[in-house]
């Protein structure tokens, strides 16, 4: 009888390994972490995923990583499907940059009920929706509002109180976009600037270019364009140039992408905000591993944001 005990344990272990039962160890015994991203077509998320892959390669003994992304940032259904797939593959933790602050809550609740640890990165899930769903997911990420405010303050020093400024927002339904807009407003209101226009550039260079051109024509006295990401700052810079207003209109961005460097160098863009994109997913993964290891209750964690000028 004695010799059957290990067998019994083995059988129990096998049963608990069934994906349907949720958390399961892989054959190697290492925890499996799924990184579910937004669009891998976007440079920012691409950088984030690369950072995560590098981290895993350096810590190959500690965990396994599966990286997934969706086709475009608004394809919510695809991301919901990815979460379901990751759960059925039996990962221990999902680190997710939700494509929408509300629409992903239901599927993440399902994941958590299946015993998967969920860590929220990049775009914070909506607090009210989480509450309604009775779900709590720790957010590991930058404070977009504080970051935007800090870049806004750099800009405010270049302007005089009462100057007209305009904001080019991101996708209006995205929480990080809303936060950046709020951060810009905080800085501008505190310095006594007049916000004469605020429209969405949908995160895209071309759309932002059109919006910026329209704003410059409609508000000839505008002294600065505050853009919620760098792609839109590039579009805005082109519009300022086309309007022959280089040097008269300041531009700030957010993200610190490589393509912005020449514009920062020659002053066409004043400043941007680096939220250390290559580390954002890593921060989330590290938080997940820590919780899995220590069995602690996860908590929100803030990651650094730095203003970048020339």
């Amino acid at each position: 009888m004695k010799c059957h005990i290990p067998l019994l344990f083995a059988a129990l272990a096998l049963i608990s390994c069934k994906p349907a039962d949720g958390p399961a160890s892989s054959h190697s015994g290492k925890p499996r972490v799924a990184l579910v991203m937004k669009s891998l077509a976007n440079e920012f998320f691409q950088t984030m995923a690369e950072g995560a892959k590098k981290h895993q390669a350096a810590h190959a003994g500690d965990y396994e990583l599966m990286v997934n992304g969706i086709k475009n940032e608004t394809d919510l259904a695809e991301q919901v499907g990815l979460v379901d797939q990751m759960v059925s593959q039996g990962v221990q933790a999902i680190v997710i940059a939700p494509a929408d602050s509300k629409a992903l809550v239901t599927v993440l609740k399902r994941a958590k009920e299946a015993g998967v640890l969920v860590i929220n990165i990049d775009n914070k899930l909506d607090a009210d929706t989480l509450k309604q769903a009775g779900l709590s997911t720790p957010f590991v990420g930058p404070d977009n509002r504080a970051g935007a405010k800090a870049v806004g303050e750099v800009l405010a020093k270049k302007l005089k109180a009462g100057d007209e400024v305009a904001i080019i927002e991101g996708v209006t339904t995205a929480f990080n976009g809303q936060q950046r807009k709020a951060g810009f407003e905080d800085a501008m209101n505190a310095a006594g600037m007049k916000i004469v226009a605020s429209q969405s550039g949908q995160w895209e260079m071309e759309k932002a270019n059109g919006v910026a051109a329209g704003m410059l024509a409609a508000n000839p006295n505008v002294k600065a364009l505050l853009c919620a990401n760098d792609n839109m700052a590039l579009g805005a810079a082109a519009a300022v140039q086309a309007a022959g207003k280089t040097g008269q209109v300041q531009i700030i961005g957010f993200d610190n992408i490589a393509a912005l460097k020449p514009l920062l160098a020659d002053g066409r863009v004043l400043a941007t905000c680096d939220q250390h994109g290559d580390q954002l997913a890593v921060f989330g993964i590290e938080a997940a591993l820590k919780v899995l290891k220590d069995k602690t209750t996860p908590a929100d964690q803030q990651t650094p944001v730095d203003v970048v000028v020339k």
């Binding site: 891998l40 976007n42 429209q199 059109g210 024509a217 409609a218 000839p220 792609n231 590039l234 393509a259």
Partner: protein, 307 residues
């Protein structure tokens, strides 16, 4: 003359829009607005010209937005990373566009598949290629390409604008004065009849797709020149603007009827609408609803007048 009354409707719509936006926002009547509209026109006008030629045959090409992104990506990598000159990059972009366009055309015509479906597939392929080419990174090109889209001596008109007008004129001559144009219209009006009367119905259609691809390649260069950069996401949804402009200009989706110059009027209407909605401070939802309504209204006006 019927042709002139067609123009009258389109011009009336355009004038009505300009007056309306002007009443809502004083600054709409300014050189700034004119510059904004003139800046938006070249890429849309080139693609609308090619799209008219495809649509008179009863075909369509949904891949032009992605192709614009892909050709732009090629220009970005060639100029920003490999330091090619502008002329060679333009040739490469137009060449890539022509190859992709003729592939769409050849697959659809030779294998007897609807161009709607084939180009839908190409829409995905070209966008994927755009991301692969740039490794999903925005490429900053800078002054080397900006001149093309920059207005001459501070005026409103850029080289890109002049070239696009020439292309529209050439497209109109080709469609209404040359054998190939009548050939395309005959195919769209009645393919069987064209076939029976001994006309080749395959090659002209492939040619139209190839030309649309090449023009999209040129449009991609102009788009990059306007922004000084190449964004692999560029042109998302651009096909809808181009098709809308062509349809607003009275080209039939069924084929057999169309005019490049009227498509250009459609381009003016779409570009003015876009600039106007931004200037009056319309929100994203309002912009979309109004743009949709204007497209339907313009087509309705055209249909009623025909009855």
């Amino acid at each position: 003359m019927r042709r002139w009354s067609d123009f009258f409707i389109l011009i009336a719509v355009l004038v009505a829009m300009i007056v309306l936006f002007g009443l809502m926002q004083e600054s709409f009547f300014s050189m700034g607005t004119l510059g904004t509209v003139a800046n938006r026109i070249p890429a849309l006008a080139l693609v609308a010209t090619g799209m008219t030629l495809v649509m008179v045959t009863g075909g369509i090409d949904l891949s032009v937005g992605s192709l614009l992104g892909f050709c732009g990506a090629v220009v970005g990598v060639l100029m920003a990373d490999l330091h090619w000159g502008l002329a060679m990059a333009v040739l490469a972009s137009v060449g890539v566009g022509a190859v992709i366009g003729s592939t769409t055309g050849a697959v659809s015509v030779k294998l007897r598949l609807p161009s709607f479906i084939v180009s839908l597939g190409m829409l995905e392929i070209a966008r994927g290629l755009a991301f692969l080419t740039t490794d999903s990174q925005t490429k900053y090109i800078g002054a080397d390409i900006e001149e093309l889209g920059a207005p001459f001596g501070g005026m409103v008109i850029s080289p890109a604008f002049v070239i696009s007008l020439l292309v529209v004129a050439a497209g109109q001559v080709m469609l209404s004065q040359m054998a190939i144009g009548r050939h395309l219209i005959a195919i769209g009006a009645n393919r069987e009849a064209a076939l029976v009367s001994g006309l080749s119905v395959d090659r002209p259609r492939i040619f139209a797709h190839a030309l649309l691809g090449a023009l999209t390649g040129l449009a991609a260069v102009f788009n990059c020149s306007r922004l000084g950069s190449a964004d692999p996401n560029a042109g998302t949804g651009f096909e809808l603007g181009a098709i809308a402009a062509v349809v607003v200009g009275g080209t039939s989706l069924m084929g057999g009827r169309g005019s490049v110059v009227k498509s250009f009027m459609g381009v003016l209407i779409i570009a003015t609408l876009e600039a106007g909605l931004i200037q009056v401070g319309a929100t994203e939802p309002v912009k979309r609803v109004v743009t949709g309504l204007v497209i339907v209204a313009a087509v309705l006006a055209d249909t009623w007048r025909r009855k």
